[in-house]
Amino acid sequence: MRLLMRIVLPAATANSVLAAQDFEPQWRALLQRIGALASYPKEQGRIQHVLLEAEPSQITPIAEAVFRLVGVKPEFLPEIVPPPYYGWRAY
């Protein structure tokens, strides 16, 4: 299924993450490894939207790879859906 992965680096830590000498090649390698179809950086890379084609079983492994590189949990936005006001885990 097609997914849009959204990664928002907190303003307080974004500069140090993005300024790391090897961040750019690591980020590009990550995008390649997870099979990114496209990526859309905003605010000098602090906000990233990454287009993916992934099966449900790949969602957590992809998120883990991102988390280990940037220390932020990505959110997946498959398409427009009602706001998840019930909470983060279940009902």
Binding site: S57, T60, V66, V81, Y86, G87, R89
Partner: protein
Amino acid sequence: MTDGLDMRRLLSPLGAERFFAEHWQTRMALLPLAADDLAFIRATVDSLDPARLASAAREGAQAWVANDFVAHSVFPINPQNAVQFRDIGATLYFVNVPLPALTDSLADFLGAPRRKVIASLFFTPSGGGAVPHFDKNENFTFQLTGAKRWQVGEAPMVPAAPDGYTLGSSVITPALAPLLAEAQRPPERTVDLKPGTLLYVPRGTVHHTGAGEPSWSLNLSYSPSMWLDLLRVGLRERLAASPRWRGIVTGAGGDPAARDANRLPELLAELRALLADPEEAEALARAFLDRPDG
């Protein structure tokens, strides 16, 4: 086995009269179901197969995923991938599964439009839970399998809440904002739901949940038609049929000659007569509730 959902019987440990007097829209109620009633509900719901339910859900199905690496994310699911999402630890939410034997019975008991009562099913994985929130619907939850712990407010945080809200969220509807500004969060009570328990939670009541084991629950919810809507929509529609009420506002001040065209006093007299007539009031309510969006 019983052949229908008899709400009066379900509420018998409390009493239907006491339910409406002391709980309806004001306070949660926890009730044990008779084995026959649980068996009937289970048989009516039929197989708890995610693929089948994803296919049946009229308003779609969702998977909610959140774990150590994924921020809370909502995925629309279909019969092909529903089981895959369950297997990765997602909560599954099947919205508006047609179960008229249950929803119509509840609507008829409440004296509510049948189309306003819907059935939804939740699969909650082990370790799942929900952050504190309140809903805009009157909710009747039947625990079908597994166990789930709820923390439920002793009273609504926002009585007759017009919208739902997740505590701490910056997303607040305009209708809710002024009510929320003055609201205090009432103390909560712990409620353990096991198969065969019915929990009624009024809208506006804060609750959060946690499941120590996989569980299925059925939610019958009434998305209320408010009395306010009856006046706002129903009465407006009724009055709009009259050329007098469609007349232009004139003579609120202005030239003395224009004041002669002020029809407000006679219109108010007409409105008072309309509202004072029980048959007219009943017809007004009926016409409103029979509307597709009533």
